[in-house]
């Protein structure tokens, strides 16, 4: 295989990989590393000075510990809901819908691109007190005054995030289900295995990496979100991201915002590792 590679010197290869390496190391690793260093700096009025203050992290835990737990909880809720809905959609498309399934999958994946902010705005106009649902119900004479429980609460946040993340979660799950062998499932059924047995012992263990991928992406994006809670959530239930963002407003407290960011990432990774281990234990192929 190496013979066909033009000018096979390693220097040429290295030069070709240089731009990507420069972007990755210079922008991604560089900015994250600097952000991490800043999380130990000292913030005073209008100024940030180099220092070493691990106490910044302690402040985060004492001041925002409860918000962090709430946010991780919302992340787990949204990720579980989205992954479940996406799995059954991908499962139906793969095993039950035939050619109709291809069309349905294409439509679902088209909604992947619709603009993140546009989707949040759409839900706000649907659920708002003078929004689409309320104005329709009033016009139909079903209610006298707008239902106020639709918007500005946790339910609206969960619905909006699920709507945004669902196509993203379908993608890896469908890819994994496509590789599941249908004859193996039919054989198990012929030998008398129940529907749930087949699902638990054959299908789910085979697609476990994709389940974990979907769950992780949904969890990280939901737990790190700040726009959805600000736009459709209640002011009393702000999420961790809202507090991170507020460090960068007028206060410009970069060290605190950085410490909060890395606390969020650290706790998220620990949680995902635990959930991954749990799934591995729970979904053993038999």
């Amino acid at each position: 295989m190496t013979a066909r590679k033009i000018g096979s010197s390693q220097i040429v290869t290295a030069l070709m990989l240089l731009p990507a390496a420069a972007i990755f190391l210079g922008l991604f690793v560089g900015s994250l590393a600097f952000f991490f260093v800043q999380s130990f700096w000292k913030a005073s009025t209008f100024k940030v000075t180099p220092d070493f203050r691990p106490g910044n992290y302690l402040d985060v835990v004492t001041n925002y510990g409860e918000v962090l737990l709430y946010t991780l909880g919302v992340g787990v809720l949204v990720a579980s809901l989205t992954t479940t809905l996406a799995f059954f959609f991908a499962y139906a498309v793969r095993f039950a819908l035939g050619r109709l399934g291809d069309l349905m999958l294409a439509i679902a994946l088209t909604t992947l691109f619709g603009g993140y902010l546009v989707k949040i705005y759409a839900w706000r106009t649907i659920l708002g007190s003078d929004g689409i649902i309320n104005s329709a119900l009033i016009n139909l004479g079903l209610i006298d005054r707008p239902l106020s429980f639709l918007l500005f609460n946790l339910g609206a946040v969960v619905v909006t995030l699920t709507h945004y993340l669902l196509p993203l979660a379908i993608l890896p799950l469908y890819g994994a289900l496509r590789d599941v062998d249908e004859t193996e499932l039919a054989a198990a059924r012929d030998m008398g295995a129940s529907r749930s047995r087949v699902m638990l012992d054959i299908v789910l263990p085979q697609v476990r990496p994709a389940l974990m991928a979907s769950f992780s992406v949904c969890f990280l994006l939901a737990a790190g979100d700040y726009v959805t809670p600000a736009m459709v959530g209640s002011p009393g239930n702000a999420m961790f991201g809202n507090f991170i963002q507020s460090q960068f407003g007028l206060r410009m407290n970069t060290p605190s915002g950085a410490a909060m960011s890395f606390t969020l990432i650290g706790t998220s990774l620990v949680l995902l590792t635990l959930i991954g281990a749990g799934l591995r234990k729970g979904l053993q192929p038999r």
Binding site: F24, F28, F35, M104, F113, L117, V118, D130, V227
Partner: protein
């Protein structure tokens, strides 16, 4: 057996309604002549489109967005192509490992990525603006372009390039006359997908653009007034990104 066939259909259909209807409603209400995005719709017209098109803030934001989208598409495709060609010269296992590492920025919440880029750009003295945003968008478009192009190159038949070389073509000429035409559709498709992803981004643009893009314009409008002009801007974003994606997927014949 009817229940067996009906349930999956009904479920998949319900999911599609959930996914598509909010976006369809957003487009529907962009054509209302009323002052609010609600029922009843008195009449359909292009009133709000005319009003938005005449708004200088919208024109500025649309221009900035176009610069970022096209710039990001071009940069991601160019760097992605060079990267994929370089990866194709490595062992398969090493290439996949490099691609996985390049994909790490996709796993970071955009808020954290945006804030660390903002802090970093301030430190090195890079002015916020179109160039800074294109650099930021490269972090999540480059890995996707490089992955798709590498997959295409890896499945290509190497003997055609070899034949061209044997017949005396220079490496560059062999690339231009054999490799490039073969991967052309993938290249165009990748560029379109990178453009759609860049167009969709709000969070990074919010922190590092310094002026308005179409999505940050919506953000500002949502905080001040709620009227169908937001539906108009939203519908434009939906139409452009869906068109770009559909074209991109069609050109590359990407499946799954």
């Amino acid at each position: 057996m009817t229940g067996d066939r009906l349930l999956p259909r009904a479920y998949a259909f319900a999911m599609l309604v959930f996914l598509a209807v909010p976006l369809a409603l957003c487009v529907l209400f962009s054509f209302t002549t009323s002052n609010s995005a609600a029922f009843p719709i008195p009449a359909f017209g292009f009133d709000w489109y005319a009003r938005v098109a005449g708004n200088p803030q919208f024109q500025a934001a649309a221009w900035t967005t176009a610069e970022i989208t096209v710039g990001c598409g071009a940069a991601a495709t160019l760097v992605g192509l060079v990267t994929a060609l370089g990866l194709d010269r490595l062992e398969r296992r090493a290439a996949v490992a490099v691609l996985l590492v390049l994909c790490l920025p996709l796993m970071l919440p955009p808020l954290v990525l945006g804030l660390s880029l903002l802090t970093f750009f301030n430190m090195i003295g890079l002015k916020l603006g179109v160039a800074a945003t294109i650099l930021g968008h490269l972090l999540f478009t480059l890995p996707i372009v490089a992955s798709v192009l590498y997959a295409r190159l890896a499945t290509m038949d190497g003997s055609a390039v070899e034949a061209a070389r044997d017949l005396g073509a220079s490496p560059l000429r062999a690339f231009a006359t054999v490799t490039l035409p073969a991967i052309g559709p993938s290249l165009v498709g990748c560029m379109l997908i990178a453009m759609a992803l860049s167009l969709d981004d709000f969070v990074i643009a919010f922190f590092v653009t310094g002026s308005n893009t179409l999505s940050t314009l919506i953000w500002g409008m949502m905080r001040t007034t709620l009227n169908p002009s937001i539906n108009v801007v939203g519908s434009i974003i939906i139409a452009v990104s869906v068109a770009i994606t559909a074209l991109g997927l069609n050109v590359t014949r990407y499946r799954g």
